[in-house]
Symmetry: none
Subunit: 200 residues, 4 copies
């Protein structure tokens, strides 16, 4: 450990390790898309990636950790904060979420497995919480923005409202199995978004 290590942090990582890591995560993502989480096999990841099973186990504790890692690899780019009235921006955001829940986005395909795993294992629950809040924070940010510019009441519990807006979308998608259609989103927003404080 020398001084410059501090600044370059990971400069001297064994290139083989990095190569394995990339190949394995790539294969994992491919397979997740093809067979889903439930049928994903470490054996198959090893075969597909050309990396030995033992190497995979050396770097990841198991399927869950591997998938979690792969998931992290695919952080969504935050969309730039758009201008316009809050109601419109919220609607856009929720329609985007609704479309993802309906579609075959592989990240969403992992949600049931994530929820299930969260119920059994606190570490996964932490991951789940992080992901959930990261997703939610986009909605909350817009709402906070609305409060800031006076389009929404000052005393609004924006966190709670964000959950109330997204809750039905996930609930219907995952549990009711009757997903909210994008064109139902405006009705949802209209129902839940408080009227702006009357400006005298």
């Amino acid at each position: 450990m020398t001084v410059q290590d501090v600044s370059t942090t990971k400069v001297d990582i064994d290139p083989r390790v990095e190569r394995s890591r990339v190949q394995v995560l790539h294969a994992t993502l491919e397979l997740l898309g093809e067979v889903g989480y439930g049928d994903l096999t470490i054996e198959a990841v090893a075969a597909r990636s050309g990396v030995a099973k033992s190497t995979i186990y050396r770097h990841w504790k198991g399927k869950l950790e591997l998938v979690t890692d792969a998931f992290h690899e695919m952080k969504v780019a935050e969309p730039p904060p758009a201008p316009g009235p809050v109601a419109q921006r919220v609607t856009d955001l929720l329609m985007d979420i609704a479309r993802n829940v309906i579609g075959t986005d592989w990240r969403v395909n992992c949600l049931p497995a994530l929820i299930e795993a969260s119920a059994r294992c606190p570490e996964v629950a932490d991951v789940s919480r992080d992901l959930a809040e990261a997703g939610m924070s986009r909605v909350k940010a817009v709402l906070d923005d609305g409060v800031a510019v006076g389009e929404l009441p000052a005393e609004l519990d924006t966190m709670l409202l964000a959950d109330a807006l997204t809750g039905p979308i996930f609930l219907r998608g995952l549990f009711h199995r009757r997903p909210v259609q994008p064109d139902e989103v405006p009705g949802l927003v209209a129902l839940l978004l408080p009227s702006p404080p009357s400006s005298p």
Copy 2:
């Protein structure tokens, strides 16, 4: 088919079959709650239920079919409709749900497993839908009642509102892993329940 057939319909089901069926489904639900869908093994169901593996396979094609059948047994008894102002009745209902999500109610323990299984198999998804809607209908019924007695606006989409009220409770419990506490429920109701139409 004669008239008396109606009354005897299933009279001649082999009692052994029924006995096995009950024991197996009971054990399945127990285990689903304990280890989840992913780690549920037929072997364990056999051991827990005292029914031989071969007997299980004689009646169910595999894990999925078994679990589907088991979930069907989950139906809850409807509580009697209570009197009082709508806001209060809704709040009571949601607090009850919130308490269940927090607690260790075995039906709730099975929810993650149910969601996970639903994602893999349309038949289970149908079961999930039935259960979800049965649960939701209690809330919707109260809201409909509120509309009927004029405590809520006539044009209210009660189904959507029911989802918006219960959504956050399940979402936070299952996904956010930061369950709604019963004492947060009144705030939720206050935030989402529309004011009664002003009575002139």
Copy 3:
């Protein structure tokens, strides 16, 4: 049990029992020929014979007893005592045995299984002994005859000689797996059969 029962012994056997018995033994023999003893299953016998498994178990204790019974069903007809010199008659008999051991006679095909089963179970050993001695007695009878007519020494241990004559045939067929060919039989007889007592 009345007096005349004694004389009619089996007269009043339920015809259904006899019908089952015949069908089952017939199917057993068929299957023995097709798949051998090792792969014979009671399930298959039931299917082939159209007789229910439970009925089979009602009459026979298991596979071994069933096969033993079937075996008994096929008692060989004793060939008529032929005339001629003893050496010739012995040779004929042994050539017949040698041909059976070489061929695919199903009775011989069961011998390995019989020997194996005999080693594990005294009851089967008794069956084996009976069959072995029944087969051997044909040879011994001829030898005894030879002693009687003076073609063989009076003090001859005919039992032992019978075993010495048949022994190599079975031993080579079953253990050496290099069966005695029929044309080797005369040499065997010549080697082992004592010369007739010199007649002064």
Copy 4:
């Protein structure tokens, strides 16, 4: 293939593989002696040997191949050739065999299983032949010796006589289930062993 290959031939066999192999074959022979071929179970071999079932299947295709391999391990050490008159030496040898057949020598306990397996599979039959001939060759060697020193007729078919001498012992032990007692051996030898050529 060069010279030093001979010495190193199998040097780099994974020691774990060899360890498994030895343990499994040993357990197999033990069990063959105890329960026979028909009731031999791979599951039991795994349990007895402490080697996992999957490892057994990795190395052997099934029961038959396993048993074949195990029988190969059965080779006996040749006893040194003893001096003395041929009749005496033959008698000693046969009494030894007779004692083994009566006793509980584990190799003999496997004979029924070996015969049974031989009947079902040519590869095992080859093993059986090898073992049979190895055993027989001890007797034949003495007889050949007798011919060489002039105690037995020059034209004697020693192989055939060896079979005739051992045949009854095995036949009575395995099939008749009335084993030749050691004290019957001299009679057998006296009956079958040709008189020495009269020395003028």
